[in-house]
Amino acid sequence: MSCRIIKTLILKDLKLFFRDKFFGLMSIVTIAMFIVFYFILPRAVNEKVEIGYYAPYTPGLLDVEIEEEGIVIRNVETEDELKHSVISRDFHIGISIPGDIHEALMSGEEPELFIYYSSEVPDEVKELYTILVNEMINEFSGLKMELTHHEIVLGPDMGGKQVPHRDRLLPVMAFMLLIMETMGLANLITSELGEGRVQALLTTPMNVTDLFVGKGVTGVLLAFTQTILLMMVTGGMEQNTALIVVTLLLGSIMLTGLSFYIASISRDMMSVIAWSTLMIIVLTIPVFSIMIPGLSSGWERLIPSYYVVNTLHATVNYNVGWGGNLNNILALIGLNSAFILIGIISLRRKIA
């Protein structure tokens, strides 16, 4: 193995990568777009539950904002205004309170209330709001049952510091960048193989080991530096920096192995894109468990990308350190070995 040859190969590949109109431009545009996208998204999660009500005979009845508990209750002038506010999502729910509610409650009758929800509120949430409204009415009527509550949060208390969408998306964006570079490297290798340039390189003092090391380092460099740049610009590396660097490095190595494999089964740019798309569909499944936590059912652990995305998510968004991510890191190291080995064996067969 020759360092001089590997360095020459890496410089050549980087030059060619950025001269490729499609992948070179896509890399720059994608990272710029992700950074802009990140900063456009809100930096905090609105944790307030805003409730509107219409009570024609008791205006200003409950016009209060209970900051500590994150509930805001506001009065509106007309029932139509209440409905429009719910539709336009100014309120999570709207309650229309009849004028005779007080008398009805005092006389033991069952007053009728109307609760307006927007169309996408799920049934479970509707039930919760119904309980909340009952509680409010009970308090209003003096029928509230006096109980002492003890609130115990299991795990880190995220009250008041929910993960904003943009930070939830950050590991996803980093992973998407890694995938972009996988396609670029696979395309570079495929075109070199298809047009006989690898053959020319291998008749110089360069050997197959130099070739694989050169391509591997190029792939890791491209993927790793771009994801690091994204994380640095967006502030994603402010905590657990070393762990994030290691995770991104392992992710880059894994996807470099994958790009070797894609190159070994592709003939041209179109087949690289086709195979990569298939891989992307599978590899992005764990991403959804971060974006929509309720979807997680455990089986996404079978997909290797889970360990990259999950580690990044836990580290960046929940400040989980080495101890909490040890299993993920060990899994990544094992998976990396497998990916690189499979990639090299299949590509070597194609070169031979």
Binding site: K15, L16, R19, E195, A200, L202, T204, P205, M206
Partner: protein
Amino acid sequence: MADEAIGVMNASYSYGDVEAVRGITFNVDEGEIFGFLGPNGAGKSTTIKMLTGQLRPREGEIKVLGLDIMGQRGKVQSQIGICFERTNLYEQMSAYENLKLFSDLYGVRDFDADELLLRVDLKDRGKDKVSTYSKGMKQRLMVARSLVNESRILFLDEPTEGLDPKSADRIRNVILEERDNGVTVFLTTHDMMEADKLSDRVAFINNGEIAAIDTPHNLKQKYGKRIMKVQIMKDGGDLEVREIIMDGSNAADDIYALFKDERIVTIHSEEASLEDIFIQVTGRGLSG
């Protein structure tokens, strides 16, 4: 006697069940241009791949510059230059960058790309992307690339195929210049005229076997017929062409009779071409 640059002993290669090269044996002396001739599919490119360490022979032994090609491939490859049949340049890079890349891979110090580009008439276009080049320009650059490491042996696989006369001539001149500098040239081609003009010795390969090997002159002597074509005018003014085989036992008498009895218009001597000899030796033409 010149040292041996290439020695091939009973080398064979198969692609699956298809035998591409069958037990070929030959040697190439240092400083000679060795033409390796045969039609498409005869085994020329497979032989070149074995000689340059791209393919491992299934059987036999190949020594290049006295070294076993498979055992010491790296050492051999640092001393040889290859011009492939298929253009495999980096098209998004300039000619200068292509040459610089390969000189860096070979570890050439004080590399002068301009001088090489000048030799192949590409100096003015050296900074342009190769994708903007014509086929002839690309091929000239391929030849220049094979020269970056000042190799001791040049392997040229069909270097002038399909080129315009100017590009082909430029490449032929480079080949002759390299030979004059003491470089051994292993040239595969199916252009017999070119092989005849350039080669010190030629080998005919057909169906993976060497059918004949010698200097073009000796091959013509051995297999060819020298013919004298005489155009005579008959009494009615009609023209007639007669052929006299120069190597025949009655050649002198036949020529004397012609001069004595006939009105001779033109006389031409003809010798067999390498293509004629190839057909005679292998029973097939070069185009097939």
